[in-house]
């Protein structure tokens, strides 16, 4: 199981450098690379042993135009720059037309030109000599001069509501066109849909169409691992298995430990941000920020707010461990969770260490052993934790209180 970090903010660069041994690769959102090309590209080059991919972010065209516009009608800078580098006509498509409407398939730019623009951006943006001489100062800072290509090109993709709809077709067409354009470079499509549409017929068709690619990324819309149902998990497992059966390497753009458990179905890699974005809804446009810091509790395979974590650790001090960072900071004293509040970089390091530890679990334990561990954590802690408030609810959108999700996973993976 490979762990790829979804790059989000430049303030995390130092943490990522320090934790690079815990990561296998990077996912770079195209709008960030387009907006801050020189610094982002140099950062990518500063980690030459970490393969990267660029998420083309084309799905944002399915959001109402007003989400991309500022009050004066102009585009938000990152989206505007992204438009300009992908296709010359894209900016005007977002700045004109009904602000409450998204683009229709018929509004999309010419498919061939759009795929060419996406391919050029993904293969040349980090090739700094082509882009921006200002990158030199960043390269000097990192002491690197390397320009590396992505490990594969992600084709333009969109969320589809059914395998018969036109968004499905245009996503598949974009992948096919990009593959024809890319020559030797590997091309991977992204399948973006809700778990609810994954019946056996849809799974067969997706596997037949997208399983023809060597690699395929999944984005299961809004699959929050804390509230996902047994049925939803089983549907996603079936899709992963069907794609893997075709010889396709399956990765997920957003995932946590629940998606990592699909290693046993053929999942080869997950990506996520630091502390957030283990799941994502297509309705969420990029941007925002200002979310609270959170602590990852390894036995729970999930985050809790710091205030709630403090309560949990006071009740169950044996949980104040699980990673080298947690051991070093807390040294058996759960009150020292307080240190994480003033040093959030330690929260990030701790999470990435915990994630690497989860990879170790997957590598060394059988499915029955892992399921037994999930059930054991539920037995020991659910009654206590379920009585606590969930301050994360406004952020995650879920009403996750206790640890019932561990039993859900145990059932879905049995």
């Amino acid at each position: 199981m490979k762990i790829h970090l979804r790059f989000g903010m430049h303030k995390d660069i130092e943490v990522i450098h320090q934790a690079q041994d815990l990561l296998d690769g990077l996912v770079i959102p195209a709008h960030i690379l387009a907006h801050q090309t020189a610094s982002t590209a140099a950062f990518v080059c500063s980690l030459p042993n970490h393969a990267y991919v660029i998420d083309p972010m084309t799905w944002i065209l399915q959001s109402p135009r007003e989400r991309h516009r500022r009050e004066d009608g102009s585009l938000r800078p990152s989206v505007g720059k992204w438009c300009d580098v992908i296709h010359a006509g894209l900016r005007s498509k977002l700045t004109t037309g009904s602000k409450t409407a998204a683009l229709a398939v018929s509004d999309l730019p010419n498919l061939q030109e759009f795929c060419e623009g996406n391919l050029k951006f993904q293969t040349e943006s980090v090739n700094l000599g082509h882009v921006d001489p200002r990158a030199k100062k960043y390269l000097d800072r990192y002491g690197t001069t390397l320009a590396t290509p992505p490990r594969c090109v992600l084709a333009p993709y969109y969320q589809f509501g059914a395998v018969s709809d036109e968004w499905y077709k245009v996503s598949l067409d974009a992948a096919t066109v990009t593959r024809a354009l890319a020559g030797e470079m590997e091309v991977a499509p992204v399948v973006m849909c809700a778990a609810s549409l994954l019946d056996s017929g849809s799974i067969d068709q997706i596997a037949n169409d997208f399983g023809a690619f060597k690699r395929c990324f999944l984005w299961i819309d809004s699959l929050n691992q804390g509230i996902a149902t047994v049925e939803e998990i089983k549907r996603v497992r079936a899709l992963v298995g069907a794609l893997a059966k075709k010889g396709c390497a399956v990765e997920t753009l957003y995932g946590g430990f629940m998606m990592m458990l699909m290693k046993f179905d053929g999942m080869s890699a997950v990506s996520h941000g630091i502390l957030y974005t283990q799941d994502k809804a297509g309705e969420q446009v990029p941007g925002g920020g200002g979310v609270p810091e959170r602590y990852y509790i390894p036995r729970f395979h999930d985050f809790r707010s710091l205030s709630q974590t403090n309560l949990i650790l006071k009740k169950h001090p044996e949980l104040a461990t699980g990673t080298p960072t947690a051991d070093a900071v807390m040294a058996g004293d759960p009150d020292r969770i307080f240190v994480f509040a003033s040093q959030p970089e330690l929260l990030r390091r701790h999470f990435l260490e915990a994630r690497r530890g989860e990879c170790e679990i997957l590598a060394t334990k059988s499915v029955p052993q892992i399921i037994a561990g999930l059930k054991d954590a539920h037995t020991k802690y659910h009654a206590s934790v379920s009585r606590l408030p969930n301050p994360d609810a406004p952020v995650t959108g879920g009403d996750q209180r206790g640890l019932d999700y561990l039993l859900t996973w145990a059932t879905a993976f049995s």
Binding site: S307, N310, L311, P334, R336, I337, F338, P391
Partner: protein
């Protein structure tokens, strides 16, 4: 009157009453949240945290639970007309106290005394004391 104004009035009445006997701070940071009212009684070296809500008492109790790591005693404060609706078993389970607040100055009554928190984090507690200029070594 909007709920927001009503809640402000509740806190104003409460704070005016508390200031007669102890030092009071409002909106004190506690991890990712803020505690509505924190008081310090120097003669006893007690720190109390109070979550005030004009309507949603269960939300106030949830916030008061989280305050158990920060203070010695944790309370919820509600309008007198709402206070009777609170599930007292929840308060008892966590040792959270209940304060009834009326609309007039001085109309404040402790209906349930809080138990001393056994979940207090000494570092967070020290941080609370420092808001009152109290330096302690933990």
């Amino acid at each position: 009157m909007s709920a927001k104004v009503t809640e402000r009035r509740l806190v104003d009445v409460l704070v005016e009453y508390l200031r007669r006997t102890r030092e009071v701070r409002r909106e004190v940071p506690h991890y990712e949240k803020r505690i509505d009212v924190v008081t310090y009684l120097s003669s006893q070296d007690f720190v109390e945290g109070i979550e005030a809500k004009s309507r949603d008492w269960s939300r106030a109790v949830q916030q008061a639970m989280l305050n158990l790591t920060a203070v010695d005693f944790s309370y919820v404060a509600l309008w007198a007309e709402t206070a009777h609706r609170v599930d007292r078993s929840v308060l008892d389970e966590f040792g959270i106290g209940l304060i009834s607040v009326g609309t007039r100055w001085g109309e404040v009554e402790v209906l349930v005394e809080a138990r001393r928190s056994d979940l207090t984090n000494r570092f967070v507690r020290q941080q609370m004391s420092e808001h009152f200029g109290v330096e302690q070594t933990v």
